[in-house]
């Protein structure tokens, strides 16, 4: 059992508080019409942040679903910068710069899991040390891609860490309608790999599970499926009204187990956290976010950016379309 050090736990809490603070601000920005759809992070902080902290950012890849970016700060400030471009609908939001080993958000549920297996497999082929850690929700686990990827990872013995973030909901669909399996970790048996169920509100437990899975993978022992059990404390997204379907008593129970509150009170007891730390972290989080939004707003955008990066070189048809687009846009501004 590898327990994060006090210093690590403190860093983890900083990232967790940062993520929650920024998520709340983003929600408001969306309500003001300043950014696109937002998927709040509330409840996911311990799982995502602790997992990221168990990784070697230089070698290990993170393949997210869509709720994670604010909690992946450990991979560098570019994650936030690009995520704000993404939230504003700027194309550069998808370009997380080299050498950061984090893929952009995935909207097509489950499709990122095969990508993770391919990356892990590729690292083995290139004799690179490293693992591919992929996040996906309880809902996404119902996609064929999850199973096909888990099965292939098992056969290839690929260094993948599959983290099923079980927040009990997929939009309005509760886990018991998602699967009759007793737990998502049980699905590992079908791939011939270990399945581990962990309290995802316990940062240390998540850290330990990921650390162990990572070490197994690096030792050539193959993939692990980790189920992190949490609760989605917020709405699915800004487009969702969870009061239509989330039983209030369940939500209240979950709120009592809030991962941020839990780690905060733990570290307060250890004397590692206090009101000042909380305030400082929140202030910095907001500053960073606001600056990133500002920067994203003023990011340049070529008049024909729409047509860039489809192919390495324009086809004849794209070249024609580019000249039509440029012509139309020059008329516009004339």
């Amino acid at each position: 059992m590898t327990i994060p050090s006090d210093a690590q736990l403190r860093e983890i809490l900083v990232d967790m508080v940062t993520a929650r603070t920024q998520s709340a601000r983003l929600w408001n920005l969306q309500r003001q019409g300043q950014v696109g759809t937002v998927a709040p992070i509330d409840g996911h902080e311990a799982t995502i942040v602790a997992a990221a902290h168990a990784l070697d950012t230089e070698h290990d890849w993170v393949i997210p679903q869509y709720r994670e970016p604010l909690a992946l700060r450990r991979y560098g400030p570019e994650i936030l910068e690009r995520f704000m471009l993404y939230s504003l609908g700027h194309p550069a939001g998808g370009h997380i710069p080299d050498p950061i080993r984090v893929l952009p958000n995935q909207i097509s549920l489950g499709t990122q899991i095969p990508h993770a297996v391919g990356i892990a497999w590729g690292m083995v082929l290139r004799s690179e040390p490293g693992v591919a850690l992929v996040f996906f929700g309880d809902g996404s686990s119902s996609e064929g891609d999850f199973y096909e990827a888990g099965n292939l990872a098992g056969v290839l013995n690929a260094p993948v860490v599959m983290v099923c973030v079980n927040n009990q909901w997929a939009i309005s669909t509760p886990v018991h309608l998602q699967t009759a399996a007793e737990s998502f970790a049980d699905k590992a048996a079908g791939f011939g790999i270990p399945g581990v169920k962990v309290d995802g509100n316990d940062a240390a437990a998540v850290y330990d599970a990921v650390d162990e899975a990572r070490k197994r993978a690096l030792a050539g022992k193959g993939p692990t499926l980790i189920e992190a059990v949490i609760y989605r404390l917020g709405a699915h997204t800004t487009a969702d009204d969870p009061t239509r379907y989330v039983p209030p008593e369940d939500l209240e129970a979950a709120q009592r187990d809030d991962p941020v509150l839990r780690l905060t009170s733990q570290l307060r007891k250890l004397g590692l956290w206090d009101d000042a730390a909380q305030q400082e972290t929140e202030v910095e989080a907001l500053e960073l976010l606001d600056r990133a939004v500002e920067d994203a707003r003023s990011a340049p955008l070529a008049v024909d950016a729409l047509l860039d990066h489809c192919f390495s070189v324009d086809t004849q048809r794209l070249a024609l379309q580019r000249s039509q687009l440029l012509e139309a846009r020059s008329t516009e501004t004339r």
Binding site: G144, T173, Y245, L318, L325
Partner: protein, 335 residues
């Protein structure tokens, strides 16, 4: 044949309301109809298209499925074989890709491969289309890919009234129908909808605007834009017809031929990227049926040949009134 107890009244509804009402009516009318999909029951659908069905018809006939598009589509085959009339929702058309092997490989072929033993009375509803700043794969216009799948009907209403009439026809149709609902139309399109049972046959195009100089041929939300373009050009004295295809399979070849023969000039508008979009099929159909009437090449207004883009670039990608008007002018000036 008029039922004295029924009104011939109309009610103004959004397209979304029309769809929701039709689902209620069809489920009430035929107890073989079952609705399945992600979040369709307890939540009434992420756009509320299925609102109230679960409360009214119960958990057996209105079913929240796991997030598994392939088995949503695949189960409709089995349900149809068992004698039910499934109406499945794919939450966004882009995720029909996850079910392509069931939709194109199985649903579309059930009648053919069993030589008529089984009736695929299957309707697959899916929203799609641009202009509302959705994330990836929510907006893509994939209709041409499905039009190339023999055995599948592809229905794309443009008005609230047609949404009702075509959806009712689709559900009652013994062939599999992909029923595509434009996201921008859900709340953005409203109009009078007949209160009574209202059926619009599949495969009969609609003249949305009369006109003689040129015809704009299009479908789904782009009909709205084409009509606006026609109206604004009319004020300049141009007589622009708008033909709403309503369904691209079956295609109303007769109506296309008639309109183009009459006007001599045509513009085809689609939201899909240009290459391989259904506009090409319309142009090929015009070439087949009324080449000799053409006074100018048919213009195509499309998305560009890139994946459907992010929010900031959407308005450049999706055809708008200005691009339609420019194409009409260009075509009128040509030749």
């Amino acid at each position: 044949m008029a039922d004295p107890f029924e009104s011939d009244g109309v009610t103004e509804l959004t397209m979304l309301q029309a769809i929701n009402e039709t689902l209620h009516a069809e489920m009430a009318r035929d107890d073989r109809v079952v609705v399945l999909g992600e979040d369709v029951a307890r939540n009434g659908g992420v756009f509320r298209a299925t609102e109230g069905l679960y409360e009214k018809f119960g958990e057996h006939r209105v079913v929240d499925t796991p997030i598994s598009e392939a088995v949503i589509a695949g189960a409709t085959v089995g349900l149809a074989i068992a004698g039910l009339v499934p109406v499945a929702e794919i939450q966004f058309l882009g995720f029909s890709y996850q079910a392509m092997h069931q939709l194109a490989g199985q649903v579309a072929r059930l009648r053919y491969r069993t030589q008529g033993r089984y009736e695929p009375s299957i309707t697959i509803r899916a929203p799609f289309g641009g202009g509302v700043r959705t994330p990836e794969l929510h907006s893509d216009s994939l209709e041409a890919q499905f039009a190339n799948v023999a055995g599948l009907k592809v229905v794309m209403p443009a008005t609230a009234s047609d949404a009702k009439g075509l959806l009712a026809s689709s559900i009652r149709d013994p062939d599999p129908v992909l029923f595509l609902e434009p996201l921008r139309g859900y709340r953005g399109i409203r109009g009078d909808v007949p209160d009574n049972d209202h059926l619009v046959p599949l495969g009969v195009a609609r003249t949305a605007r009369e006109g003689d100089d040129i015809v704009i041929i299009t479908w789904s939300y782009q009909v709205e834009l084409a009509c606006r373009a026609a109206d604004s050009l009319r004020s300049e004295g141009l007589s622009v017809r708008v033909l709403d295809l309503r369904s691209i399979v079956p295609l109303d070849i007769g109506a296309i031929t008639e309109a183009v023969s009459h006007c001599g000039r045509a513009v085809v508008v689609q939201e899909s990227c240009e290459t391989g979009g259904f506009a090409s099929e319309v142009i090929a159909t015009i070439n087949d049926g009324c080449f000799w009437s053409l006074e100018a090449p048919v213009a195509r207004v499309s998305g560009y040949d890139v994946p459907y883009p992010v929010g900031m670039l959407e308005d450049l990608y999706v055809p708008d009134e200005a691009r339609i008007i420019a194409a009409v002018r260009r075509t009128l000036e040509s030749g």
